[in-house]
Symmetry: D2
Subunit: 126 residues, 4 copies
């Protein structure tokens, strides 16, 4: 189960070395995991209305090569694993054959600041 | 009544033209008006605890010359005017003789999404 | 000559008052003016390859009402005026009947840090 | 060899869940490693003037608890290891007893896009 969403590198994303600033990749990861859920008619905004919050508790990224300004970047997102209270996504950021970065995030579901089970609708996706 | 606060240009602030990205100046304006209040023992965080929110309703900036990466930038903030429900700050961003930008912002005080009077403690400052 | 481009509000865009942080609107304005050019087969990246840089020298925004997380926001961009060395864009950020903000930017064309004429291809657009 | 630098959480840093947006921690890591070098009279800006660029090739963060708006956050940075062409920093983000996050980054030194040895002045620090 992989989802692809394309974004374009803006001036806002770049830094004075001509690369995409390393923090800005994390905004693309956010878009990746939001859109893979939306593809299955699940929205994070909807979970929030039920009082759920799912903060990222872990992120890791390996940067291979930076895209340039105005490049299109494909965010390939995979729902990797579902634990009792957490979900793990993996990501590849690419353009054709060029691999820009690989990444992994872990979100934990919480309600009133306490860990809760991953919602059944998400659990079904795997 | 002017307040000066110094920040340093980070990689995060810059863009691939080697300048500071134009949106990032607004983060410095936020720091300027927060710190001018703190200098008078007023904190925006404290107003929030009383249920006040003071969104920016207007901003304008004239960009003269961009600072470079690792430059120190002085944010000169002045409380320009106080209306019934709004306050106006003006700003100069400088380094020595070099003027990077001049700016103006207007914040409106609200409570439960309705406009309210500017707090007396701020009114006293002018 | 108006161009419409739609973006979606991400977590990255928001602040702890539940609104879109006021600096982040400027990233949308960048997208608006980039895409209105692309619609006419002009790309800012292409101008850069010719040694042109067109920094923003003025921005002003009136914030009316903030969009919420996960809202879609339409960026309505208009090429307002073309001077000898500068171009002025105006913007409306909307969702249906709701007007979030109106804005104006001025870019100046430069080469080797000196002002130059607005490229003929852009001049033709008006 | 540990260095401590304190920053304050701004509106710009936060998101609509009331936390610091997860990408913004990486800006603090940048400040941490820049300032630990400056403490030893080394500036990244100076290395750049020699044609060196040192992109981040790996980052990992464990988020424990988010600081709140207007909190002061201590960035504790340690130069962890020096390889032939890379340097590894570790970080703890804290406020008193509260640990917000732990992180690690790896930078690789390059010149003309080719890996080069870590500069002798940095090598001496360990």
């Amino acid at each position: 189960m992989e989802h692809v969403h394309t974004v374009r590198v803006t001036y806002a994303d770049t830094d004075h070395a001509g690369a995409v600033y390393y923090a800005n990749y994390l905004k693309w990861l956010e878009i990746g995991r939001t859109e893979i859920l939306r593809q299955h008619n699940l929205t994070y905004a909807e979970f929030e209305k039920q009082g759920l919050v799912a903060p990222v508790v872990h992120v890791e990224i390996d940067y291979k090569e930076s895209p340039k300004y105005d490049d299109e970047v494909e965010i390939h997102t995979t729902l990797e694993a579902i634990g009792t209270t957490s979900i793990t996504f993996s990501y590849e950021l690419k353009k054709g054959e060029t691999l820009f970065a690989v990444a992994k995030t872990v979100n934990v579901f919480t309600k009133d600041k306490k860990k809760v089970s991953v919602p059944e609708q998400i659990r079904k996706l795997l």
